[in-house]
Symmetry: C2
């Protein structure tokens, strides 16, 4: 039975100095005192993060912070600071930052502050180890293995068989998918380089994440060999366009290698039709990757996973628990249907790290599968959240966020001064809309003047939001469409009243534009 | 003035349930109680980590942990666990892990548990934000910028000018160096792929880290186009061999692009002669990268930085504060002499993230320089440690570790039963040696039997060490040399008595082999 009362007392008065801390002899008391003072600062921050009467941020320009705010000096120096000053620095760092867990922070795909996930990260940094070998991360390596298997089961691969690894983010996970596709069809590129293969072409939606193009540039394909696919008005790939572009590429004598189907696009939240794309990939013997970095969480929801229909036919899947599932940054998985291919693609068999003559089963050493050497423990917080919530807890969170997004959609679709960027209920929590200030209402929509004025509305409102610190939401142009707001909901703290607040705030700030 | 007494009391008894935690209404008390119970577990772990009477690890085989140890069940389930069970899981996770901060843990280049660094990580995970834009990480983005500048000043680039970014580890930092070298000489590869360039060749020591070869394979050069350079008996590149191999490559009609000089090799701790390599790079118009992932810390030491002589002539430098400088994992920097080239190489100008029409100076947005999109905040713990220690504090730590390593070297170089893998005082803290059990002493060194038997000694002793949990040190073969121990010292908690303990332990465990 755990205690209901926790108490720490100290004989020594603050400040202690750095050299009093562990590993100093008799450094325990000073260390405990310092850490608990810090925890006091952190728990206060946690408390305030969820308090709607606090601001989301206290905005300052770079030059203001660089000049030093009331004694908060960012410059590094040769001589040590006192521990008392270190704690002040910690307080100031939080003070001038952005509360990404605040119920009214909607600015990014990753929002929220999950308490169990936070606990998991605190433990991870205390354990301070490295995922490359079972030897020094036995428990974490096994947690990763079991969790990846569970994720593959949810994807629908038989018995959860296959391969996978946690990587430092969705862009790297997508890069893995391109690398292993190339290795599958042209393994000699690993040793001989791109000249050993014909000109290889990758296909991805014009709405897809830029990391596919980035991977194409980095891995030596060239960004021109990343062909962008046309989409329908909802931002979903048009399968006929994919097939036409494959044929075009083949006719030129190039080799179509890889298709990325996005499951939850960054701006529209669109889901490409995986089954139809899979048919085409099978027909032309191409690798099918599903980028579910943002959409992946919906696989946990019985109500929404139909949007992933056909995902079990993919060769690889990116899925970022640090987005829709509320796991603290960083937590991204690349999952692969074929077992062993990650190691085949990436192994270099470094003798100093992956000795074959260890006393345990070295197939548990994961490092040689990775493009990294050292690898941060990203699994524990996710594993712990899964334990604490259960699969059902993630499902409830996903369903609640989708419901909230529908609430927002219903609220503004016919509201005066709003125009939706695309028609129909969003597939994910992305609600894209223009706010039209009274001064622009009734103007000819196609006029240059209207478009130029509307283009400035979202940036202006966003700037005022940040200055007043009340809420944050993203905006961007897309193709020919001028700047619009992209509202996304992944924050477990958000309620309908926060959506109402956002709408009121946009109208308050934008009224006189 | 800070309080000297910290006390938390709770009205409710444990267990609270997950749904009682924030963001639940009135969830503050339950949240604080849960977090403080966790902190109690973590601070106990910290205390024990520095206690030499505790074991470094409690070893179990994968199948044992998978079967479940006394109720520690790694499997994930559909239904939630109680928070009380979650805390038990946290305790068990630490119990079956490896204490990488223990004064007798010498197994990896990254060891130790720095209390300030730990505090920095706890704060980082509480802030839970993303480095890609100033918008949501204003303070951290500026800290990164100032710290990178300081590191460039220490390297010796005029006024600390240049570019850089923190990446998820040394392998990725080295990959960046290859990418930007290619972009510098053949920028069209970014759009057109490797076929737009002649056959490009990379050069690196046979003792260098495998990540250079891995980068060559991943980026489309092919591992065969990574030429390994011969080294002297201390593991340092022989410049004449580099020049000969460049000429050979040129004669074949290929293009020599890039040389990696290792500053602190993984096994021997060798420093390649940077100035002589730089002369050759200038002569043949090649990119010079210095991989100081492991050695970088020595730049902070007035006594040891001469080993980096010529580093200011490098085009790029990898430097991992998470190794020799004791910063918690992950913390690695790629530093570049030419300003703007990182963005030139990697930018894709994603409109949804890097809007040009923000209200602040968007040159502070870092995301488009990276191959990642989202990027974990790796800077804060390092910045905080620098504040707390000052430059002089890092210098003292480095000097102390090098002194300890010399202590070990002096102790065993002429001791019965030991043989050094290379002669002379190690350049870094790497001390490489064979332990020769009494049964092998006096045997003919070149006999097959001797070599086979000696090859098994280090793995056997290591297995026994892990079973008894008393200490950990690495071993590996290298080239024609059979398995030997590689001792490295980066742990701030290690004392001479711990070195004595290691030697006694090797002799105790190896005596009867």
């Amino acid at each position: 039975r755990s205690s209901t009362y926790i108490c720490f007392s100290f004989v020594n008065a603050f400040p202690v100095i750095l050299l009093d801390l562990l590993p100093a002899k008799n450094g325990e008391e000073a260390t405990m005192q310092f850490l608990l003072e810090l925890v006091d600062i952190l728990t206060n921050y946690v408390r305030k993060t969820f308090d709607r009467s606090t601001k989301v941020l206290d905005f300052h320009h770079p030059h203001q912070l660089l000049e030093g705010m009331e004694g908060f000096n960012l410059e590094l120096s040769d001589q040590p600071e006192s521990l008392e000053q270190i704690l002040v620095d910690c307080r100031d760092t939080l003070k001038y930052g952005v509360r990404t867990g605040h119920p009214r922070f909607f600015n990014q795909l990753s929002t929220g502050l999950d308490i169990i996930g936070l606990a998991g990260e605190w433990l991870t940094s205390t354990a301070n180890t490295n995922m490359f070998t079972y030897e020094i991360a036995p428990v974490f390596v096994l947690m990763e293995q079991l969790t990846l298997k569970k994720m593959r089961e949810i994807i629908g691969w038989p018995s959860g068989e296959g391969d996978g690894i946690f990587s430092p983010g969705g862009a790297i996970s997508n890069m893995y998918s391109v690398m292993i596709a190339r290795y599958k069809y042209f393994p000699e590129v690993k040793t001989k380089g791109m000249s050993a293969a014909p000109r290889l072409v990758l296909f991805t939606s014009e709405h897809s994440h830029y990391s596919i193009k980035k991977a194409g540039a980095a891995l030596g394909f060239g960004s021109e060999n990343v062909v962008l696919l046309s989409t329908d008005e909802r931002g979903r790939v048009i399968p006929a366009d994919l097939e036409a572009k494959i044929l075009d590429v083949k006719q030129k004598g190039y080799h179509p290698l890889f298709v990325n189907a996005t499951a939850g696009s960054t701006v529209y939240g669109a889901f490409d039709p995986i089954n139809e794309i899979a048919d085409i990939c099978e027909k032309y013997n191409m690798w099918l990757h599903v980028d579910g970095a943002w959409g992946g969480g919906l696989l946990m929801s019985r109500k929404h996973r139909h949007k992933f229909s056909g995902v079990e036919r993919a060769n690889s899947v990116t899925w970022n628990p640090h987005k829709m599932m509320g796991v603290p940054l960083q937590c991204s998985a690349i999952l692969v249907r074929e077992k062993g291919i990650l190691a085949g693609c990436n192994s270099m068999c470094a003798g100093y790290l992956f000795q074959p003559d260890k006393q345990y089963d070295v197939s548990y050493d994961t490092g040689d599968k990775a493009i990294q050497c050292g690898r941060h423990v990203d699994i524990f917080k996710f594993w712990l959240m899964w334990k604490a919530k259960g699969t059902v807890g993630f499902e409830q969170h996903i369903d609640k966020c989708l419901d909230l997004s529908q609430y927002l959609y219903d609220k503004i679709r016919n509201r005066e001064g709003y125009e939706m960027v695309f028609e129909g209920v969003p597939q994910h929590t992305n609600v894209c809309f223009w706010y039209i200030p009274p001064s622009l209402r009734g103007m000819e929509h196609n006029s240059k003047e209207y478009r130029e004025k509307l283009h400035k509305v979202a940036p202006n409102i966003k700037a005022m939001m940040m200055e007043s610190g009340t809420t944050m939401v993203g905006y961007q142009p897309q193709g020919q469409k001028v700047n619009f707001f992209r509202m996304v909901i992944s924050n477990p703290a958000a309620l309908q009243s926060d959506i109402d607040f956002l709408i009121d705030e946009i109208e308050r700030l934008g009224r006189d534009l």
